[in-house]
């Protein structure tokens, strides 16, 4: 199973409610994935600073602050349960190494200039409350509720997977050739932190984009390179793209109004959205990339 959701605001009208909408959507998909949940909220791009979403695991807030302050001075830390958003001018090349070598007990969930990303085990209804998702405003967001199949129920096994700046991926389905694809991507310099199949798809997308492909072309290529069943929602700082494999066993439904585009595995996840009953509602076609 697993449930995936995404919402993209076409106008500014509901920016303050984005978190509330996404929270309701994840709530509605708890039935499809009770094991863990995660989400990425995109806010307006911060030109000066990078934001690093970090899961502290067992480390205490104060200990993290002490440790990180030893290496970088000008930082802003905002805590959400066991996650922290670290804001700094320091570039990813430095911070990624620093976290890995000096504070290996924490794990980086994602980073970029507009992404805020959180994921944790537990029922989605509790996870969204824990991270206060309803309080977020933003331009677009995607989320996932997981029923674990490929790998264990851990934070690392939860979605979204972010493998590059401001990029992330949620996935409903399973990939059958992920071990092969992972091996060839590792040879190409891509890093992986889990045994999970979706992380491979996320890495595949990042790898192609780093070579200059656009997101749409990358997803089209994935139809040839990734075997298995999937509905993907891939987020970037500008919006998100949706793709179902050519068999299209994994569901998706789109609701579009003049103010927003919402995507979910099932309609019940969007039933709470404003004016959804008069929205244009349709099912995305197999093997076709939709982009907003």
């Amino acid at each position: 199973m697993c449930g995936i959701v995404g919402i993209y605001l076409k106008t500014k009208k509901y920016e303050k409610h984005l978190g509330k909408f996404l929270s309701g959507m994840l709530d509605g998909m708890a039935t499809r994935g009770p094991d863990s949940a995660g989400f990425a909220v995109y806010t307006k791009e911060n030109k000066k600073n990078f934001k690093y979403s970090i899961c502290l695991n067992e480390l205490k807030e104060n200990d993290f602050k002490k440790k990180i302050s030893k290496f970088i001075k000008k930082i802003k830390l905002t805590y959400y349960a066991d996650h922290v958003i670290l804001e700094t001018k320091e570039k990813p090349a430095k911070i990624l190494d620093l976290l890995k070598i000096e504070i290996p007990e924490v794990s980086l969930v994602g980073y970029g200039k507009s992404i805020n990303i959180f994921k944790q085990t537990g029922n989605p209804k509790d996870v969204v409350k824990k991270f206060k998702l309803s309080s977020f405003s933003g331009t677009h967001g995607i989320g996932h509720t997981r029923m674990a199949t490929e790998s264990a129920i851990t934070t690392q096994g939860s979605h979204p997977y972010s493998t590059s700046e401001d990029e992330c991926l949620v996935h409903n389905g399973s990939l059958s050739n992920h071990n092969n694809v992972r091996r060839s991507l590792i040879k190409d310099g891509q890093n992986f932190n889990s045994e999970n199949d979706t992380e491979v798809a996320a890495g595949y997308i990042s790898n192609q984009i780093s070579k200059g492909e656009d997101l749409e072309k990358t997803l089209k290529n994935s139809l040839n390179d990734l075997d298995g069943f999937y509905t993907f929602i891939a987020g970037t700082k500008d919006g998100f793209a949706l793709l179902r494999d050519e068999i299209a066993c994994k569901p998706a439904v789109v609701a579009e109004t003049k103010d927003y585009v919402a995507v979910a595995s099932e309609f019940q996840a969007m039933a709470h959205l404003p004016n959804v009953n008069s929205a244009k509602i349709y099912e995305p076609k197999p093997g076709v990339v939709y982009h907003w």
């Binding site: 299209a248 569901p251 439904v253 309609f267 996840a269 039933a271 509602i281 099912e283 076609k285």
Partner: protein, 226 residues
Amino acid sequence: MNFDLNKKTLREVNQHLQNFDRKKNTRKFEISNPQGQHAICAGLKDDIDITIKGHTGYYCAGMNQKATVTVHGNVGTGVAENMMSGKIIVKGNASQSAGATGHGGALIIEGDASSRCGISMKGIDIVVKGSVGHMSAFMAQKGNLVVMGDADADLGDSIYEAKIFVKGKVKSLGADCVEKKMDKKNIDELTKLFKKLNISEDPKKFKRYGSSRNLYNFKIDNVGAY
């Protein structure tokens, strides 16, 4: 009689409709605020009339017998799945596997139906006024799938004895599915079906597709493989 799914649980409403008191004269019901819930009106077995105001989730009116259910909205996966008799009308679009394994009765979809519409159908009549998605009528055994719009790839893959009628374009036919002659007998059958379901269409504008029956038996030419 009206049910509001914001106020009553789906289980209460379904139980009421399934255990309907046959002595009562009220045979008309309305359900509001379905909110995309699954299995609304599943397992009905009486001659009752239900109107659903809004979008429903999976398996709406599944296993239906005798009842007429009209959905003023879209339906999720497997509407009218395994239906035995009665009539289901969808005013909006239908998701995948509409009318799957249906044994009888009629399913009328006024919008589009997506992939695998009529998969493994066993006698149901399905009329789609819009288009159908890929692999529709997959392994369909009996009954009629009538499509006013277009059909996507692999129509009628591995079909048995169900009949497919399409007015628009067919992207491609699946394994063992071929275009067949639309003779007088077929035109009469379709005229009768349209009359029964109160549909004003000209049967002569439809093309017929069905099984070439090449997959029914083992091909003796392949015996050398064993």
